[in-house]
């Protein structure tokens, strides 16, 4: 026997096995085969539901759609905004998702708007126009992979992985982007545990998701009575405050400034930059909105940001910045359900204000 043949045979087998794995992975996860039965309450499943919902909405609404993207802090009601449609002429849709961030918004938009021309405006809700670094660094958080997994193509794998900072996370992202089964393992195992139940739940969500989310009414809980002694960094909570209200206030508001490393600026320049580049020359306007900061905003003395990538973007022709203090009037404890999120009343006030602001910035639809 030719002494090289066994090695050649083994190498050929390895190659064929690797191709087999990729083909199987591709058939299962790069087509709609498994995506259609993802757990609706998982990150990937909710992301996919939102994407599907918004793709369907595009068929129903005309040419004057505005899509908003943000995390759970961008709490507003498209239904309340759209009550003003007869006057403003614009229809608001929300493609944001709790826990999501720039990377997820980029891939969401790429799937929702392949020609970068579908919407009148993209509205991004951000905590601050300044690039303040906090202890939470989304640039190296593998969570993003679990949101965008269904939308990653093999051609994205290298670039997506390189967008993380540490080699371990980069490796995790690369492996997950190529072999999606490694990321969706727990979803698959949960499906295998309750197959029929899952399919029934997926069908239920597919039927009702638009109504549930569009007509969703948030909690009336409030932080009314909250006071903060900033010099002492101490909060006094109203009676009956929940542990979540206390913990979010402590972690979100009562912390000393974090070391400023420039990572937030770098991250924003990279991913907002990519989105802006996709829409270069498009009719779609890109609008940044500073969200109501909290029940009691942190004093400016505690804010450390030295740069503002978002203000830099404003020099581009299709980028608009909403007046920074436009929603400061909502920064009251009685309008927040915890330290991060507006409550029912806050949303009821914020939504029409948002619709008015954005419509004014865009002018009447042509």
């Amino acid at each position: 026997m030719n002494p090289k043949s066994p090695i050649r045979r083994t190498l050929l087998s390895c190659l064929l096995a690797a191709i087999g794995v990729l083909v199987f992975d591709g058939l299962l996860f790069h087509t709609g085969l498994y995506t259609s039965i993802l757990e609706p309450d998982s990150s990937a499943g909710t992301y996919q539901l939102i994407l599907h919902r918004e793709q369907e909405a595009q068929k129903r609404y005309g040419d004057s759609m505005i899509v908003t993207l943000g995390d759970s802090r961008f709490a507003y009601s498209p239904r309340l905004c759209n009550q003003l449609t007869p006057r403003t002429g614009y229809t608001f849709r929300n493609a944001g998702m709790g826990g999501s961030e720039l990377r997820s918004w980029y891939y969401m938009l790429r799937a929702l708007d392949p020609t970068a021309n579908r919407y009148r405006a993209l509205v991004f809700g951000v905590n601050d126009y300044g690039d303040e670094d906090t202890l939470d660094y989304p640039d190296d958080n593998i969570r993003a992979l679990h949101y965008v997994i269904t939308q990653l193509r093999w051609s994205d794998a290298w670039d997506f992985a390189r967008s993380f900072r540490t080699p371990a996370v980069q490796w995790q992202a690369l492996r997950g982007a190529i072999l999606k089964g490694t990321v969706l393992q727990s979803d698959i195992q949960a499906f295998l545990t309750h197959r029929l139940k899952r399919i029934a739940y997926v069908n239920l969500c597919n039927r009702g998701y638009e109504d549930w989310t569009y007509n969703f009414v948030d909690s009336p809980a409030s932080m009314a009575g909250l006071t903060i002694d900033w010099p002492k960094m101490q909060a006094t909570f109203p009676p009956g405050s929940t542990p979540e209200q206390i913990s979010t206030t402590t972690s979100w508001l009562l912390h000393p400034p974090s070391p400023q490393t420039g990572r937030t600026a770098e991250y924003r320049r990279k991913w907002f930059g990519r989105i802006l580049d996709r829409y270069r020359g498009s009719r779609t306007k890109i609008i940044f909105v500073r969200l109501p900061r909290g029940p009691i905003p942190r004093p400016t003395s505690l804010a450390q940001s030295t740069t503002s990538s978002i203000r830099e973007f404003a020099s581009r022709p299709n980028v608009l910045l909403c007046e920074e203090a436009a929603f400061n009037s909502l920064e009251h404890p009685e309008l927040f359900k915890d330290a991060w999120h507006l409550n029912r009343e806050g949303i009821a006030r914020f939504s029409p204000m948002l619709a008015e602001q954005i419509s004014r910035m865009l002018g009447p639809p042509r």
């Binding site: 066994p6 064929l16 794995v21 089964g181 393992q185």
Partner: protein, 464 residues
């Protein structure tokens, strides 16, 4: 550096590349350096200990041969065995003995404790050393003159940490007559590497999650079904974990041109406890047979002596696993079962043929083995008794295994039954490329979909 980590595969690829790219005369040195690096990567501070044990037994082998027959020869053997058992005893059993002595003296169990870290693989390499010296003493093995060769025998990285326990004559036969691995060896080595990885990551680690959650807090998991499913999960974990490790070790050795003995032969299909021990951790059970059971007299001195030797051998086998009363009870339990079988079976060898009674016998054997695993895995004796109480007198409780766990086992059972009849895993290397590749692809898919990837769960036998 665990076998189921990326860093290990980088290491292995580098070793294979260096090994085959180097002139033949250098290859032993490369393997030795790689093996010490592998060991030192875990804790370099124990390399001197490994060197000392290697030096002792290397010298003892030569000395035994030099002094010829007589008392001196025996004295050297005893000195060598004492050194090995002394090190093993200190690192592995000091705290166990000290704890029991303290309790006998009415003091707290930790009164005489020392903060002792168990050197990785000490139970395995000391057994290899002892078998070598004993074989030289018995005239079954020539002493090894080249210290590099002997050091490599002790620390060869594929089997250093958890075996299989390789006999010196087999290892040196491969080393001294080394030839490049055949085509079948390469195919088989690679296949075993992937098979072991699949067993470990897709099967053992998934069952480990269930078993660990059960054994971590037994009182929180009452119920008969709960107890049986928790213990069943551990039975699956330990089998797939250890046999997976062994498959990887054998596969790696084959890729480097060495041949290790098989260590597992579908043990849960055994028809009796004696059959089980012919299929489970074969390199240890044959070691115990050759260096303990037979020297004790084996079955040569009547029935009672045979039963005593069986129980004593298994007691010591249990103690080898770890310093606790539970391991001793586990070993004693298996010894008693072996003796009881011997009472009923007489001197006839255990049946291995498939008959209509086979499934019943296999099921009974498996249940007996499961009961043994309670002592093996539980933290202490009271916990073992609590689990047994739940297994036989517990109320209803939830099943800890999901449907897909059962499906995984069903797949494994079908494959094992086919293997038992058809030896397909040996034949796979002769299959056409597409069939071989499909089998490898299927295993990789199992790893992709079921493998516990981001939490490298250590191999169970690494603690021994």
């Amino acid at each position: 550096m665990l076998f189921n980590t990326t860093i290990f595969f980088v290491f292995l690829a580098a070793v294979l590349a260096l090994f085959y790219a180097s002139p033949r005369g250098l290859r032993r040195y490369i393997l030795l350096a790689a093996s010490y690096f592998f060991y030192g990567y875990w804790n370099y501070k124990f390399i001197p200990l490994l060197l000392i044990l290697t030096a002792i037994d290397y010298t003892a082998g030569i000395w035994i041969e030099k002094v010829g027959a007589g008392r001196k020869r025996k004295a050297v053997l005893i000195a060598s065995l004492s050194a090995n058992l002394g090190f093993l005893g200190f690192f592995k059993y000091f705290n166990f003995v000290a704890g029991n002595v303290a309790l006998l003296m009415g003091k707290p169990a930790g009164y005489f404790f020392h903060d002792i870290v168990l050197p990785l693989g000490i139970s395995f390499h000391t057994f290899q050393s002892m078998s070598y010296v004993t074989d030289v003493y018995r005239g079954q093995q020539k002493s090894v003159r080249d210290p590099i060769d002997y050091a490599l025998y002790i620390c060869f990285f594929p089997q250093l940490v958890a075996g299989p326990i390789v006999r010196a004559r087999n290892f040196f036969h491969d080393l001294w007559n080394w030839s490049p691995p055949s085509g079948e060896d390469i195919s088989s080595g690679f296949f075993l590497l992937i098979l072991g990885l699949t067993k470990k990551m897709a099967f053992a680690d998934q069952f480990a999650k269930v078993a660990n959650s059960y054994f971590h807090d037994v009182p929180a998991h009452p119920g008969m079904v709960t107890a049986w499913s928790g213990v069943f999960a551990f039975a699956m974990q330990i089998y797939f974990d250890f046999s997976g490790y062994t498959d990887m070790a054998i596969g790696m050795a084959k890729l480097l041109g060495f041949h290790f003995p098989i260590n597992f032969r579908r043990p849960y299909l055994a028809q009796s406890i004696a059959d089980f021990w012919r299929r489970w951790h074969i390199s240890l059970s044959s070691w115990l047979r050759d260096y303990l059971y037979i020297p004790l007299g084996g079955n040569r001195h009547g029935r009672l002596a045979t039963y005593r030797n069986l129980i004593l051998t298994m007691l010591l086998g249990g103690l080898w696993h770890g310093a606790s009363w539970n391991f001793l009870i586990w070993g004693g339990y298996h010894g008693c079962l072996l003796a009881a079988e011997r009472v009923f079976r007489g001197d006839r060898p255990p049946a291995e043929k498939w008959t209509w009674m086979y499934p019943v016998k296999a099921a009974v054997t498996f249940c007996l083995v499961l009961i043994g695993w309670v002592f093996f895995r539980a933290a202490d004796l009271p916990e073992s008794l609590r689990i047994l109480q739940q297994m036989f007198h517990g109320g209803p409780g939830p099943m800890l295994l999901e449907t897909w766990h059962i499906e995984l086992i069903a797949i494994a059972l079908v494959l094992a039954a086919l293997e038992e009849k058809l030896d397909w895993s040996d034949a796979v290397v002769k299959w056409p490329v597409w069939a071989y590749a499909s089998t490898v692809a299927a295993m990789l898919l199992f790893v992709e979909l079921f493998g516990v990837i981001d939490a490298a769960i250590p191999f169970v036998y690494f603690q021994f």
